[in-house]
Symmetry: D2
Subunit: 345 residues, 4 copies
């Protein structure tokens, strides 16, 4: 069907799944198991998550990333309340108003630098607390890495989280690419999330080799109580959950998260180092995880697009992403194509 030799730089979700993931799915297809999560695969996956994030955490398998984000927000926000996030955050601009439609909260984007929400902007946004005429901030949502592929340092995360907590807000981390962040920062999965004070974590695997399904990890026991019910009400409860759980069990126990993210990040760095040497092309942000945002002449974009699928971004930028299965050869071939496009062919 698709050209198996062709490697997209359009998005890390353009890749398939790691072979181990497919094997885990196949292995889970064995015998009867109670639906909706009362099955041994889910028990095992939840135990793995507890190993990773601590016994106080609770993990809920969900169906996709938007579902994970919305379920998190539904635990920390609601009518008359606001979720604060960086401008450009996925929950603000890429989820078709899902939070507004299904949680009914306001999503309030704040000013950023290099895609990172600024402490000053956060503090200013909190000044509406107590005013009955403004939606009350009840949750801070941080994407790590950001939507433009940059990383908050642990100190930056901590500062923002502390400001939010002191004002009574909960903190959600959109970890659609948490593995890329952890690898890039040289930390483990807890080190980039719960250890910094995050209350709710959208734990993504689909952009890093999982075939389907994501997980929501809740660190605040008070918030976890309503999660099982809201998971169903918000359309995120899988009947044959074993097929999701088995993937995540493999993903964690076989360290696929680390192996895959390491590969994706390395490919991004390799590509960046090629691009940085090209005339007529500028990288818009530091390349810290697996995304690259470039500015190049529109005719060059058109020429490249004839060969590769990728997305335009605000401000005339284009986005390229590497993935867990991007090979060195893929990178070289793509870099050559960019160079050719710039050169006019």
């Amino acid at each position: 069907m698709a050209d198996a030799a062709f490697r997209s730089f359009g998005s890390d979700n353009n890749s398939g799944a790691s072979p181990e993931i497919i094997e885990a799915i196949a292995a889970a297809n064995s015998g009867s198991a109670i639906g909706y999560g009362d099955d041994p695969w889910t028990e095992k996956a939840e135990a793995r998550f507890a190993e990773v994030f601590g016994e106080g955490s609770r993990t809920f398998m969900v169906l996709n990333g938007t579902g994970s984000n919305v379920l998190a927000l539904s635990l920390a926000s609601g009518h008359g309340q606001a979720v604060l996030c960086a401008e450009g955050a996925h929950i603000a601009v890429d989820e078709t108003g899902a939070a507004e439609a299904t949680v009914g909260c306001k999503v309030l984007p704040l000013a950023t630098r290099d895609g990172k929400l600024q402490a000053e902007a956060l503090s200013e946004a909190l000044q509406v607390l107590g005013s009955v005429h403004q939606a009350q901030p009840s949750c801070l949502s941080l994407s790590q890495p950001t939507e433009v592929g940059t990383l908050y340092t642990p100190a930056e995360m901590r500062e923002l989280i502390d400001i939010a907590h002191r004002a009574g807000l909960r903190v959600h981390m959109d970890g659609a690419r948490i593995a890329n962040a952890a690898v890039a920062l040289g930390l483990d999965l807890a080190g980039v999330s719960s250890a910094l004070g995050v209350d709710l974590l959208s734990f993504g695997g689909m952009k890093n080799g999982v075939a389907f399904g994501e997980a929501l990890v809740v660190f605040d026991p008070e918030l976890a109580g309503r999660a099982p019910f809201l998971r169903k009400a918000l359309l995120q409860l899988d009947s044959k959950m074993r097929f999701i759980s088995a993937q995540y069990e493999a993903y964690l126990s076989q360290n696929l998260w680390k192996r895959n993210a390491t590969a994706a990040n390395a490919a991004a760095r390799r590509l960046a180092s090629r691009l940085e040497r090209m005339q007529g092309l500028e990288l818009a942000y530091p390349v810290q995880a697996n995304a690259l945002f470039a500015r190049l002449p529109p005719p060059a974009i058109d020429r490249l697009r004839a060969k590769y699928f990728f997305y335009d971004w605000e401000g005339g930028l284009v986005r390229w992403m590497t993935s867990f299965d991007t090979t060195d050869e893929d990178v070289e071939r793509f870099a050559d194509a960019v160079a050719a496009a710039l050169a006019g062919s």
Copy 2:
């Protein structure tokens, strides 16, 4: 992990997936493909659905059954409006208020006989049309088979649909088990749905051998326009859609729907014929698809439950279901266990 030799009669979602389905997933794990449905597997699956349901239909892959139902209702109902359904309908009693939470409509259960909504009750419910104080019926939702495993005859369906259409309502069919219905009625998939006037079909495969994902089929082009956007806003858009689409392509093109449903229904009939001969046990409804509802003494229920997982139902009933992979031996073993439980051991 789970005892592969053990066969649950708790629900048809306690089964795994057909081997062909797992093979389709594995085969789809090949190369890069654009996310969110712009991939060749989805194109092929959509083409299969168009063969089955006609060129005017449009099919949207979604993530689960509740998601499929809610997406359908969001196209045909909204604030200040009501969805009419049978009492006991899945959307009314088994989805944790998902429709109210995410569509904001009222779900109004109406009186039934043998699980089937009655025309008279429907007509009476329509009398509020035009009154500003009552949520306005805008959609009729019919489950086929019903939640108690009975079947509307085509004539019964048509009568209800005609009443609804004449009053300006749209008609949704919850076809979580549409294959079982079609096989039992000796009709094809369109014959039990679009041919009878259904506007929106939740097309289920997960209870009949699919591993994950369902489909919403929209027959009314006017309703289809908003579906792509609401699919995302209602948390039902899969990024790696190929893994769902590939399953449904196999499900339809290899006639798995028919083979699997035929097996499940046959197993139910076989079990029914054993049960009907037992003293102290009564089947509450005609066994027309793959569900059996039984009344038996509570001590016997307890004894059986020590060996088998199954659900209690309203009115002191218990529900047993057969599945696509229920074997004759499974049936005999389960029937023996029921007989033993009735006999006090």
Copy 3:
């Protein structure tokens, strides 16, 4: 404009306002005052409510009865949760799905006797607590008097409230006609509500002589915290609140609530005693407040309707209501008209 001599028996909201209420509005039209409730009239009205319901209570002026109910429910329910109420409750059948549309909860009507929710039905409905597939009951809503004009005894109220509280639910009282209930039971306003354990009270005045605006009284301080914000988000915050507050100040301090409800109830009893002696007419429920539900031959209904406006009710009943300004003469004239209609003229 309208025939000032004509007195409707269609609803107690067909009456205008008590003269003292209009005077209070006129008196409040004096000078500048800060909007949204920071005005001296609101301060005074809130103080009156605190005298009536205790210092721990907090009162929020709102715009209408449905707004009051919905604001209450928004404090005690939400997505994935259910509000339990009597079948026929205003929130279930007369508010155009407002709770579903703006709170997103499920409204679950339970079986009644004489319009009163039965303890057994309540207990049964609570059995879904803990099941992820069912909307979780989080609030019990009781109308006093009921929609059919009957009254829970204090003991009946207390029993239901205790069952609800033991299961962790909050209790809302739809007191659209609380004054009629208090007068009929010989209790004060707190005696029929907070003294029995009610957590949230929709305190109605518009059906008893107030021109516009209602009040929500919150007895549980934990629930009150979000009320000011949700009042605005749910469209219930009045900018020139003084005009509502001034009415309620007068309503309470001048005991209009008692005077008016006493008159309305007395008129209902007078009418009932006339009707009870008529052939061919049957009162469907005990007349305990100011509503009467009658069964009489359809042709008689038609004849009466030619002279008087009133509403049909389920089951072939008609509803008649008396009001604070219904005079003895009004009652006699209406009773004569009923008698004539029954007699065929």
Copy 4:
């Protein structure tokens, strides 16, 4: 109670009502009338609106300004859709997330100049049309005058409306102060709204001498169909509607709208001409209606605030408003107080 001699410059809703409005309320307190709008006062008020806005328009009395806005948006937007507006628009920043909570749409603020949404920003925002990942713009909402008291010229309005209509959006006008706009532009009420292509008009009176209640005027018959039901579902249906309708009948038939707005605007101009001559104070926007935004030293603000209540605004500004009952003497006294505050006393 409040000091009748004191005149606030905090907001035009700090004023009471015109005497004619109170008289209209008192006069409407006569006899029985059917509730919920089937009364002669409402009939007459609706007829007045039809005279003003044309026979094709339909008017719905509602309870407050936020209710009017939200009801309008509910007719033109919904889940997965976006309402575009100026940054700082009331629906975006002053309604506690009401639109998100009760309509479920996204509210998307766009860049402005002098408070006015710019055509370029609008066109750019429309580029997401067709993308399933972004909330789809379905409505443009324009405030006239803007939140900073400036006015779109008719040509500017028309340009924006044309862009919106060509893209398939509906256009809502937040006319909370429509009378001030019409008077300032020398146009009639239709001239600033329906004549320019507006589809839905929040017609405000409460900031211009009405005691309570507002109106929604729908110019597009297709949109009007659901309005009666959504008005109830969105908590905006008044039972004793006569008391609102009578006010608007007087407001229109006695030309109170024009008289009052003329007075308020003139007071603003008078105040502006005093302020413009002061050292150390700068007016941030042209004074075109009845709002003034000033920049002055914080200590001066503090000194003035000791005598007058008013609101701080973004960017260190303060807002002062004149009202229909602001007298020349009020203006001089306030201007003197500002001058004194600037002078340090």
